[in-house]
Symmetry: C2
Amino acid sequence: MPKLIDHPKQKQAIAEAAWRVIMQQGMQKASARNIAKEAGLSLGAMRYYFSAQNELLAYANQLVHARLAEKIDTIFQDDVQPKEKILRVLLCLLPSEEEPMLETSVRLSLKMAAAQEAETSGKVPDAAYSAAKNVISYLALLNLLVKNADLELETERLSALLDGLAMISLANPAEAEEAKIKRLIRYHLNSICTESFSEPK
Amino acid sequence: MPKLIDHPKQKQAIAEAAWRVIMQQGMQKASARNIAKEAGLSLGAMRYYFSAQNELLAYANQLVHARLAEKIDTIFQDDVQPKEKILRVLLCLLPSEEEPMLETSVRLSLKMAAAQEAETSGKVPDAAYSAAKNVISYLALLNLLVKNADLELETERLSALLDGLAMISLANPAEAEEAKIKRLIRYHLNSICTESFSEPK
């Protein structure tokens, strides 16, 4: 009798193995062989779930965004002050105590890889972009945005800024750097809002 | 008699082969074996120049920044209006007619890879960061920055924004996207300057 295998769980376990390989060794080591080894599977067994490496990487990418989207939903539903909520959402997109480095590093590496794959690029829902869009809409709803702010351009600007900051933060995981990035997030919010997001003195 | 080989040139040729592999196949295919093949060398011959894959990738990274720095220097020395000069420098950091996709894609892929390598990270001079710093200093010198602008934070913000935009641009190489990104660069400059960078009507 064949062994009963929980397929969705096995696919997730393989995606998580891919994340660990990407995090610990970089995209340049994310071969099907290395990922199968990390997942404790033979290359043949892994091919049963993903017939090609780019299929596996696309799934690993989808899963990282799905998990991030869940986390951001939870923060948006938290019962905290609006400005505090916005800061928490934004900080959740950067490596910090709240978001383990693993996730950001893997998310950006896979984003770069997806950008290079003409077929899959732009097809994965980007949880970080959605978060930026929700933050800007929320600020508009709270009537906090400066006059003449262009919602679409502010969304693009915030989303690009967050991806860029995440990259800087990965390159300099020092604590001083983290403080600087938090200061920059507040600085940016202050520049687009009519009320201050400054730290309490 | 051994063949005479121009060593620096051969190292550059290998680095350029690495760029092509990264651009065409992604970091996940940037193995020493694939790069040697692209460079038309045996793995053994390539090891004469670079004993390890991370050494080769670090050199490919340095070279991409050295080339970019040269290009930016040339633009800064061009005899054009200051605002036009600033726009040209910034657009040169994004994939567009002025900067082939190859360079940005490779630069960001290698930046991500370097960020994951604790030893090398932060050691390569980042030509894009230097350009952002020079643009902010230049704006301050021209007395164009808004009052209360924090030069250090504006540099960080511009640099992160450019890296993030470059990533978005790689994922959506459509022409419409390029126009949007140009609009966003002007929008950002307008938000930090006392004079408009708007397109001529």
